[in-house]
């Protein structure tokens, strides 16, 4: 199959090739046949391309370009930075891409492996002392800078979480008030047969706690199911293995504890209101 790709933008850092996807011909060796490239799964699926197909790649539309062989199809990593970008990715040998773009002996960036933390700091400082026109950055710093988008999204999620917690706290308080109010007659009878207010408040709080725990366990199950649906949906939409929603032990603990605290407080407030009302008034007399 021979396909002409109208215009492929080559936006990946030059020369970055994963082991399983490396084009077959080695850099610098004389090329007898066409050069090889690797394409991503999205492009392969959308253009109906397979390993072994020949395609033409050019840096701009209307330019002759090179005929190349597809040597590999790569799956995208679970990188949140890539999900909103719909563009296709093609990986070429560094020298091939440089000649295709007329880039000369230039690269966008180097990745340098060091022998540990101290060596990294030393390498960064020595490179920056000697460099002109470029700078060395630690990977961790680059990660912080490139993850600013997710820091913003995370802050947004936290803000939404706060609003949700306020809404659920009010809902829970309201429900507990109703629940306890429904037992006005029972409480009045207990008071009349001599049960102490402490026992009554204790029993109501216990009941509230039990309801809160059971409710939050049901909530965890619903949350788990919702998380599964969210992941299935967005993984299909964005064609990525990235997990969009994760229910962790910490989150479960937070939800259950919060619900327990809110339930107990709501139960205590409602019970205190009841025991302060005279028993006969609770009977409606």
């Amino acid at each position: 199959m021979r396909v002409r790709l109208p215009f492929i933008l080559l936006v990946l850092p030059l020369g970055v090739l994963s082991a399983q996807s490396a084009p077959t011909s080695a850099r610098g060796l004389p090329q007898d046949g066409p050069r090889s490239i690797a394409i991503d799964g999205r492009l392969a699926a959308d253009a109906g391309l397979r390993v072994g197909d020949r395609v033409v790649v050019a840096s701009e539309p209307g330019v002759a370009g090179d005929t190349v062989v597809i040597a590999g199809i790569v799956q995208r990593r679970a990188d949140p930075a890539e999900i909103a970008r719909g563009e296709y990715r093609v990986r070429l040998h560094l020298d091939h891409l440089q000649s295709l773009l007329g880039y000369g002996d230039r690269v966008d960036r180097f990745a340098v492996a060091t022998r540990g933390g101290a060596a990294t700091a030393d390498a960064v400082s020595r490179i920056n002392d000697a460099a002109y026109g470029f700078r060395a950055h630690r990977s961790a710093d680059v990660a912080v800078e490139t993850s600013r988008t997710f820091a913003v999204v995370s802050r947004f999620h936290r803000a939404i979480g706060v609003i949700t917690i306020v809404a659920s706290a009010i809902f829970l308080l309201c429900i507990m008030l109703l629940k306890v109010d429904e037992r006005r007659r029972d409480v009045a009878a207990l008071r009349l047969i001599g049960c102490s207010t402490r026992t009554i408040v204790g029993s109501v709080v216990l009941e509230a706690g039990a309801i809160a725990v059971l409710g939050s366990l049901a909530g965890v199950a619903v949350g788990g199911a919702a998380s599964w649906i969210v992941n299935q949906h967005y993984q299909a939409v964005y064609r990525t293995p990235l997990r969009f929603s994760i229910v962790t032990a910490d989150i479960v603990m937070l939800a259950v504890s919060l619900s327990l605290v809110l339930g107990i407080v709501a139960g205590w407030l409602a019970a205190r209101r009841l025991v302060r009302t005279p028993p006969l008034a609770l009977f409606g007399r």
Partner: protein, 395 residues
């Protein structure tokens, strides 16, 4: 009479009613925010794109404007071709790049836009004048602050580095002639605009006759869609996108927020609905005897239904304005968080208030208030009178 009875019923349990109103208000606030989020972002972006009157944008084939470093070749002849079309009122070519300003001890980097000042649509002039002559530049506050310069000053700038000669390349002394606000750039992004010819000359042969983007303003009454198709047919090396398509692209990229808005909006509505249904149901259960007596003395069934529906609607009606006010405050807070989104134009509002959004939220709330009263009112009105009275009397 109906209203008095409904009010009396709500006032009987003030704490409960107050909590329900508060709960519904928070749900209403969330609902308004989500309605604003789902439509506001798109409207805000549309307003931004149309703010300067350019309906079409041309970028290198297969790309979105300024999405990559690709540029359009033979840009001047391409612009001349477009200007010759009868439907076209103006064409504004833009070349994107970087400027490096050497200062004592460090270099300040900034985004550079090469423009034609007479037709540019990338910035608004705040102070001074447009950079009409070679070697003139306008800059935004972020850049002027970083450089410690103001209008009238000169500044040395370079377009790149030459690592072999270890010098800055394409150096020029530029005169700052204006202070501007860039329309499409991100918050605190340092930027400058200068005549496209100056930027091309600074960049060297690689940028000769190149442009990153061309914006097209059509004459009044021109068919945007038809002109877009015609331009794309005529110019094979560019992608022509209209405002509608640009919004579609942005919709795709930010679809997460739209979907989140729909899900959270629906959850808010359901929570509000459940809260009111629960409250009114419990309230009806407590007043079974009272309702049965009313029915026994001749009060019609529809009046019982109407009274209970009125109670649920009243909670929603009282809570809605509170919720809408709360929603506007929280929307502002949430917008200030999302405004820090890297790369997003400073002027994009995720939460744009539109009267239609408030009406939609109010309508949904009123509807859910009425629906919330349906089950309890049906239950109250369909009680068998004699049996219920007997049960109530026996206890």
């Amino acid at each position: 009479m109906l209203a008095t009875l409904a009010l009396a019923s709500l006032l009987r349990h003030r704490a409960r009613t107050a909590l329900a109103i508060l709960g519904v208000a928070v749900s209403a606030a969330m609902l308004l925010d989500m309605v604003m989020l789902s439509s506001g972002m798109r409207e805000s972006f549309r307003g931004l794109l149309l703010s300067q009157g350019f309906q079409l944008r041309l970028s290198p084939k297969g790309t979105l404007p300024f999405d990559t470093e690709a540029t359009i070749r033979s840009a001047d002849s391409l612009v001349a071709l477009i200007r010759a079309r009868p439907a076209v009122a103006a064409v504004s070519p833009v070349l994107g790049g970087q400027l490096h300003f050497p200062t004592t001890g460090a270099t300040v980097n900034a985004t550079a836009l090469g423009i034609e000042p007479a037709v540019q649509g990338d910035y608004e002039l705040v102070d001074g004048r447009h950079p009409v002559a070679e070697g003139e530049v306008v800059a935004n506050d972020a850049l002027l602050r970083a450089l410690g310069r103001s209008v009238g000053d000169t500044v040395r700038a370079a377009a790149g580095y030459d690592p072999q000669l270890r010098t800055l390349s394409g150096q020029r002394v530029l005169r700052v002639v204006g202070r501007v606000r860039f329309i499409y750039l991100a918050f605190e992004q340092r930027a400058a605009a200068l005549p496209i010819g100056t930027l091309r000359a600074m960049n060297g042969p690689a940028s000769a006759d190149r442009a990153s983007l061309a914006m097209v303003r059509l004459r009044p009454g021109a068919d945007v869609a038809r002109e877009r198709v015609a331009l794309e047919r005529q110019l094979r090396t560019v992608t022509v996108i209209s405002t509608v398509e640009a919004i579609k692209q942005v919709d795709e990229r930010l679809s997460y927020f739209r979907q989140l808005a729909v899900i959270l909006g629906a959850v808010s509505l359901v929570v509000g609905f459940l809260l009111v249904t629960t409250l009114v149901t419990v309230s009806v259960n407590e007043r079974i005897g009272e309702i049965t007596v009313m029915r026994a003395i001749g009060v019609r069934r529809w009046r019982v239904v109407a009274q209970i529906l009125l109670e649920s609607t009243a909670i929603m009606v009282v809570a809605s304005p509170l919720g809408l006010a709360l929603g506007l405050v929280t929307a502002r807070w949430l917008n200030s968080i999302l405004a820090r989104f890297p790369g997003l134009p400073e002027r994009i509002d995720f939460f744009l208030f539109q009267p239609s959004a408030a009406w939609t939220a109010l309508g949904l709330l009123a509807l859910s208030g009425i629906l919330a009263g349906v089950y309890p009112s049906w239950r109250g009105a369909s009680l068998p009178i004699a049996t219920t009275m007997r049960q109530e009397a026996v206890g």
